[in-house]
């Protein structure tokens, strides 16, 4: 069946360092969404990527969708303590939405 794998599962970085999480699908996706869940909170939508090779930026966050529409990444430049949380990708194919297991980001002060 369709799978969306997300790596790494955990990441500890020093404040100010960069962070990247990767999302890989076993099948071509129609689009991909990214969500952030703060500790103790619920997932909140960040962005959606639709086009092959698409790149979108939100301040220090850069999102990419692979040319084959099977892979995506989220890169955070110069992490801050407010970036703490779990980042989920959600791959969409036909009528199905599959969430990755998330990457938990921990910032060391």
């Amino acid at each position: 069946g369709q799978q969306v794998m997300q790596i790494p599962q955990y990441q500890h970085v020093q404040e100010g360092e960069d962070f990247t999480t990767y999302c890989n699908s076993s099948t071509t996706l129609s689009n991909i969404q990214w969500y952030k869940q703060r500790p103790g909170g619920h997932p909140v939508f960040l962005i959606q990527l639709v086009k092959s090779g698409e790149v979108k930026k939100q301040k220090r966050l850069t999102f990419q969708f692979g040319e084959a529409k099977k892979n995506s990444s989220l890169h955070i430049t110069a992490t801050q303590t407010t970036d703490v949380g779990t980042y989920f990708c959600a791959g969409h194919r036909y009528d199905k939405i599959i969430f990755g297991k998330g990457t938990r980001l921990h910032i060391l002060p």
Partner: protein, 115 residues
């Protein structure tokens, strides 16, 4: 309402009891989703409703789990004969319609603890 609401926020029950969890979606949202999130884990899809269409129940883990939705309003998730492995946060989300291109708005979740 301003957002998706869920009740109760916390539920502690004894093994073998039935529980009902409630979700109030954003007004006007026709699609409604239930997810389960075990401690430190990802989102496990359970079921979704789209308007008056038959729900997609493909994620329900066993026949102890069921959900209902009246029209485009409130939904209840029922777990019968609860087991300790059912302990998790149950998240509800809604979107305008069930489409790849619509973001989901999540509620705060119900934390279920089965003793």
């Amino acid at each position: 309402g301003a957002g998706v609401s869920q009740s109760p926020s916390n539920k502690v029950t004894e093994k073998g009891k039935d529980v009902e969890l409630r979700c109030d979606p954003i007004s006007g949202h026709t699609a409604l989703y239930w997810y389960r999130q075990r401690l430190g884990q990802g989102l496990e899809f359970l079921i979704y409703f789209q308007g008056n269409s038959a729900p997609d129940k493909s994620g329900l883990p066993s026949d102890r789990f069921s959900a209902e939705r009246t029209g485009e309003s409130v939904s209840t998730l029922t777990i019968q004969r609860t087991q300790q492995e059912d302990s998790a946060v149950y998240l509800c989300a809604s979107s305008l319609i069930h489409s790849s291109y619509n973001e989901q708005f999540f509620g705060p979740g119900t934390r279920l603890t089965v003793l």
